[in-house]
Symmetry: C2
Subunit: 397 residues, 2 copies
């Protein structure tokens, strides 16, 4: 039996009924055929957890996990950008050294996980790599940096991460840093700092794709103006559906599209955030799932169910996510929209809790009247175009 | 059939007859039983070569390679310190950034190779790790830095490498650098520089073993005085047998022993170095063995044979290596001698061209009248004692 067909059958068993209903066999076949990438997979935060293995099946309801190799197979996700994320901290030399090491260890963990699963995964650094690996049936592991804070004030470290294979980076996360203002927190630089402007030039020189997600609207706009190659917003959304600092207004969406850039549709910030007392404590326990005793696991699942009953988690559903996606296509055009749902970074839908159900998105896109060629652009074509543009920009110098 | 016994039988086929003659079945059984470590394996220089695989058998006469997993099994080598080596270059910020990246990529390559072979190899960071992994039948991969040049003037990078699992480092290679004078080249600091003294303190603080090999005699002596825990000379020899800047006089050997340190016996510098015109060109071609055509490989082997006939390579033989080892034991005592033969770094013996024949050393040590307990110290006990001392030194602070 062909692996794809096998995955198909397993997939039909595993997809939650709610999303399953919308996926015909033809839709799943199309979904399997496409090269599918998600541009913001936060899964590497799990790679350093004791006992956690990317090659094992995990259950969202147990440990909150949304992405692993078995579910990539079931969900027909061929790969994506695996994120080297660090939380923003102080901008001091000591903190810079500490966070540089955290980012390097995260990069190391990604390389280790790929090497441990070399039969199923491979690192990719060019657009052509993705197409080659897809033909070979391997899952595609691009690397990206979320928050350039670990570079400190030493832009030569961007070369280090480029050598490690990283091909996308964002300047900032929550709260302003040495490079840029953030969508959240104080305005410190009115967009980019002078160092942030040099960061843009260095990203261009190296041929890396600049990711505007988490930057302030002003910083995104300035990066579009400054960058010699188009921006990506690796996990983002439109203000029109839900006003949020992490979404952008139509005017900025249009500016992004005019410059050749792409917005990758986020599942988050489509409904107001929930903030249940006790949620963080539950999540802390989930992070230690692998080292919990059976009794501790049972108590965790019960506690989470009780909390969810009192404070229902506020996720968008697939309907709303598709409305957001189709809105973005209407405003920007199909060449400027992609997929970056913030899996393992807080994302997910009420009726699609992990990547196992991704084929439903393909089904909905087809139902909305999009051609296979257009759906292919959304699932990877637009992202690969940005990678190629960054590569060509670097080569031109 | 037990893996050890199988390795034994293969080993008896594979060991060159010259060394084979001296190895009884009892000697090989002893050798298999012992935990054997070599403290200076330069093999990681090969890990980044296109097509080179650590899990495949290689032939010294073809590509000059001396260590891989199959030959570790045949030679009964349980592990060692795999070296992150960088050649000395300019002490400028630009060169520092470049060489920092080289060292990080080398560390990454070591992690990748271990992950790719997780059934046979494991990273080790403590003395206890080696003993545990030996019981599990895994080969033990410690990491060390040869030449701290990649740290630039930023000692916080030592923490980075410590986090990556590195537990041993030398300050310098050939030619003085920012930390220390070298056994070769100009005297610049009369031993250690002020930064070199801070490097010693930082090594102690982190609990890493200081490696004096390649440092000048003055620098070795100063490091013995300064360091709170004993030094290793990871691949070194006595001046008494062959006067060389890379060997040390009896007085310094005694000072090392009195301080609790250990000299790991080198196969190099026991005879004058050969310098045949054309040798480097042959070695350059050997480094590209995996990507040569069959015709190119045949020509290389013929060219090397012709060069060897005109300029016989000057290797010590096992007799001379054992004389050096037994001399060091006489001068320093059996608690202060170990094995670090510079495999894949230019080392080797005329009658032991790769690690496949290591059991002959165990045989010779027994013939020289050493007890099993003493032979165990030489093969790993003394090295692990230094690791434990470094760990305890760090813990005490």
């Amino acid at each position: 039996m062909k692996p794809a067909l096998f995955a198909l059958m397993i997939g039909m068993l595993a997809i939650p009924a709610s999303a399953q209903d919308q996926v015909s066999l033809a839709d799943r076949e199309l979904h399997e055929r496409l090269l599918t990438l998600d541009t913001h997979l936060d899964t590497p935060t799990r790679f350093e957890r004791p006992g956690w293995r990317f090659d094992r099946w995990h259950d969202y309801d147990f440990d909150g996990s949304q992405v692993d190799i078995p579910r990539m197979e079931v969900g027909g996700l061929d790969g994506g950008f695996f994120v080297i994320y660090t939380a923003q901290g102080p901008t001091t030399p000591e903190a810079y050294a500490r966070v540089r090491d955290q980012a390097l260890m995260r990069a190391m963990a990604i390389q280790r996980v790929v090497a441990e699963n070399e039969d199923k995964l491979a690192l990719a650094t060019t657009a052509a790599d993705a197409e080659r690996l897809h033909r070979q049936g391997k899952r595609i592991v691009y690397q990206s940096i979320e928050n350039s804070y670990p570079l400190g004030t030493d832009l030569s470290l961007l070369t280090t991460f480029h050598k490690l294979g990283v091909r996308m980076a964002s300047p900032v996360h929550n709260g302003p840093n040495q490079f840029s203002d953030s969508a959240r927190g104080d305005v410190k630089h009115r967009g980019l700092s002078p160092l942030g402007r040099r960061w843009v030039a260095e990203m261009n020189r190296l041929g890396m794709v600049i990711d505007g997600s988490h930057a302030s609207d002003a910083a995104i706009s300035q990066m579009i103006d400054l960058s010699r190659t188009p921006l990506i917003l690796s996990h983002h959304g439109p203000d029109a559906l839900q006003d949020s600092p992490r979404n952008i207004p139509d005017a900025l969406m249009r500016k992004l599209a005019r410059s050749g850039g792409v917005m990758q549709m986020n599942t988050l910030f489509l409904v107001p955030m929930e903030s249940a007392p006790g949620r963080e404590e539950i999540e802390d326990r989930q992070e230690r799932w692998e080292v919990l005793t059976p009794a501790e696991r049972a108590r965790l699942v019960a506690d989470k169910a009780a909390l969810d009953a009192r404070y229902p988690p506020r996720f968008a559903n697939l309907d709303l996510f598709m409305r957001s996606t189709l809105y973005a296509i209407r405003v920007m055009g199909v060449d400027h929209v992609g997929m970056g749902a913030d899996w393992d970074g807080g994302g997910g839908l009420a009726d699609m809790k992990d990547i196992g159900g991704l084929a439903a998105i393909t089904a909905r896109l087809r139902q909305a009247g999009l051609s296979e060629a257009d759906i292919a652009k959304i699932w990877s074509g637009n992202t690969l175009r940005l990678l190629r543009a960054a590569e060509a920009g670097a080569a031109k110098r």
